[in-house]
Amino acid sequence: MTDRPLMLARSLTKAYQVGDEALPVLDRVSLEVKPGEFVAIMGASGSGKSTLMNILGCLDRPTSGSYLLDGRDVSRMGRSQLAEIRNELLGFVFQNFNLLSRTSALENVELPLIYAGVERTARSARARSALERVGLADRLSHRPSQLSGGQQQRVAIARAIVNRPRVLLADEPTGNLDSKTSTSVMALFQELWRDGLTIVFVTHEPDVARYASRLLVMRDGQIVSDTLQTPAQAGTDLAAMRVA
């Protein structure tokens, strides 16, 4: 495992113009994420955690500072290039799943492969295997409306890993799920992490954050604490919940 950081952010600042004032949402944030980390970011609203995630995810550009993703300087790239980077290196999971309605699970998972230019048979095979990985092999042709919240999020996770990204970014992945489903989704994340995937997620629930191996806390646009921790075992918790 190489020690070169996957994500290297230096003095990131993001300011929004409101009238003639520049409000800093991120204030000179520096951060390193190494391969194989399982990072949780916590903070109140307005702390800047979503903005940080957007920049780390190449969806937004900082007003100043630099950001290297897998050694590439993405802070000055154009929209088209960023789209390509996202497709190649990143996977996204959102609070509200963001699946295409009236579309099968398989087709949903194929989406990043379409933009990567993968041809049809390979696409279908890879999407199928991603869905198997998340335990939905028997739901390939189901539409989102025919799936539970937890299953929908699993489809979204399959979509996020189908292109074999370097980092998986999740924004409140359990925000729309009940506690049992949340735990099972976090168990899946931990499985993927143990298989070698680097994961960075944002949450406002401390119960969810304890499954990570590193905890960042943000306030007022800055990182106020950055600690390593022993991750709680989501699998064990889930078993306990099932028995109860």
Partner: protein, 409 residues
């Protein structure tokens, strides 16, 4: 992802909301169907009129007494006749562009057969008349040289007159009819000609030799032709030359000084035909223009729906961008969606337009002449409409900020 993958992506997106897609394409369907059917019907009507005029004889000119009014209406019948038999002979001998010339006088009279009677237009003329009109007999014959010069009581019937007097399918040649209380022998029946552009039935007629007409049916004014002179030019291209020659000869004979108006008029049927055609063409053009407007309205409908679609699918667009769609991918997808709508509508419109044109052609007895070039043009225009009206919503979609889009409620 390349362009080839955009099409199935776009079609799948349209299929997700099939009813809406169909309704949106409806505007283009109606627009294209209107254009195609208008143009096809217009072309068919034009062809029919051409055929009718051709059946009248495209080399034909009519010389009538009296000058034309400003509206071009016939001022001939009813005003004092100024054409003489000597004029006729002069036209036959002196005008090089004239092939045949025949005098034509007519009146309404009743023919009486054994079983019934029938009032029809009785025409007095010479054997050249049948050459000029290109009108051949299906039974018997027309006037021989001798009949024309004598006042023989022979009559040639049109199909309608024959059917009315003797019944359909009966051969009346050799039978007798009474006209002005005198027996006339039927010597022939003419082939069917159909309807004139003015709506009258050509076949409802009976023809007798001129001398017979003048002596037995309606007394004439000795040397004057109380009717018209029918002329055929040597060829269709010579009608203008013939017209000029006829005018020249008659002005000379009637001693008309250059400043004075003619006391006759020469009508060139080819001119009347083309004036008729021009009118039809203008009308067709107007209708097609209106149809094009409706096609544009269809395009506006597409733009409208695409804008709604972009707004509705804002989150979806954000998601696509997040997983790797570049701005031009998004533009291409929405543009292809708009194009698919308009071109599907165009194809359907061509089919429906052709069907309508075929039905109208059958109902009104036109020839149905589908033109591949019109169909392609309309189809191409619908593609243009798709691009023109799809580009704005597509650009709007491509310009969305992925973060804003993902946050959209």
């Amino acid at each position: 992802m390349n362009l080839a993958q955009t099409l199935p992506l776009a079609l799948r997106a349209l299929a997700r909301n099939l009813t809406r897609s169909l309704l949106t394409a409806l505007g283009v369907v109606i627009g294209v169907a209107s254009v195609i059917s208008m143009v096809a019907v217009g072309a068919g009507a034009k062809a029919k009129v051409e055929a009718i005029f051709a059946s009248m004889g495209t080399n034909m000119l009519i010389v009538i007494s009296g000058s034309t009014t400003s509206g071009g209406q016939a001022g001939g019948f009813g005003s004092l006749p100024t054409l003489t038999f000597a004029d006729l002979r002069a036209l036959q001998t002196q005008a090089s562009a004239v092939k045949f010339a025949a005098p034509v006088v007519a009146t309404k009279a009743t023919l009486v057969s054994d079983d019934t009677n029938w009032t029809t237009s009785v025409v007095g003329t010479t054997s050249d008349y049948f050459e000029i009109r290109g009108w051949k007999p299906t039974r018997g014959g027309t006037f021989g040289r001798d009949d024309a010069d004598t006042d023989a009581k022979v009559v040639v019937l049109g199909q309608t007159a024959s059917e009315k007097l003797f019944g359909p399918g009966v051969d009346p040649v050799g039978r007798s009819v009474r006209l002005r209380a005198m027996p006339f022998q039927v010597i022939g029946v003419l082939e069917r000609k159909g309807q004139s552009p003015m709506g009258t039935d050509y076949d409802d007629t009976a023809l007798v030799p001129l001398k017979t007409f003048q002596s037995k049916i309606q007394g004439g004014l000795e040397n004057y032709i109380a009717g018209a002179i029918l002329v055929s030019a040597v060829s269709a291209n010579d009608t203008t030359r013939a017209q000029q020659q006829i005018s020249g000869i008659l002005r000379d004979r009637h001693h008309i000084v250059s400043a004075d108006a003619d006391d006759f008029s020469v009508r060139n049927l080819a001119e009347i035909a083309s004036a008729q055609q021009q009118g039809t063409q203008v009308l067709t053009g107007l209708l097609a223009a209106i149809a094009v407007v409706s096609l544009l309205v269809g395009g506006i409908g597409i733009m409208n729906i695409m804008l709604v679609s972009v707004t509705e699918r804002t989150r979806e667009i954000g998601l696509r961008m997040a997983v790797g769609a570049k701005p031009w991918h998004v533009l291409a997808q929405f543009l292809v969606e708009a194009l698919s709508l308009s071109m599907l509508g165009g194809a359907l419109g061509v089919v429906i337009g052709m069907l309508i044109a075929a039905l109208v052609a059958r109902r009104f007895n036109f020839p149905f002449a589908p033109r591949a070039d019109m169909a392609l043009l309309a189809f191409g225009f619908s593609a243009f409409v798709g691009i023109a009206f799809g580009i704005y919503p597509a650009r709007k979609a491509a310009r969305l900020d992925p973060i804003e889009a993902l946050r959209y409620e």
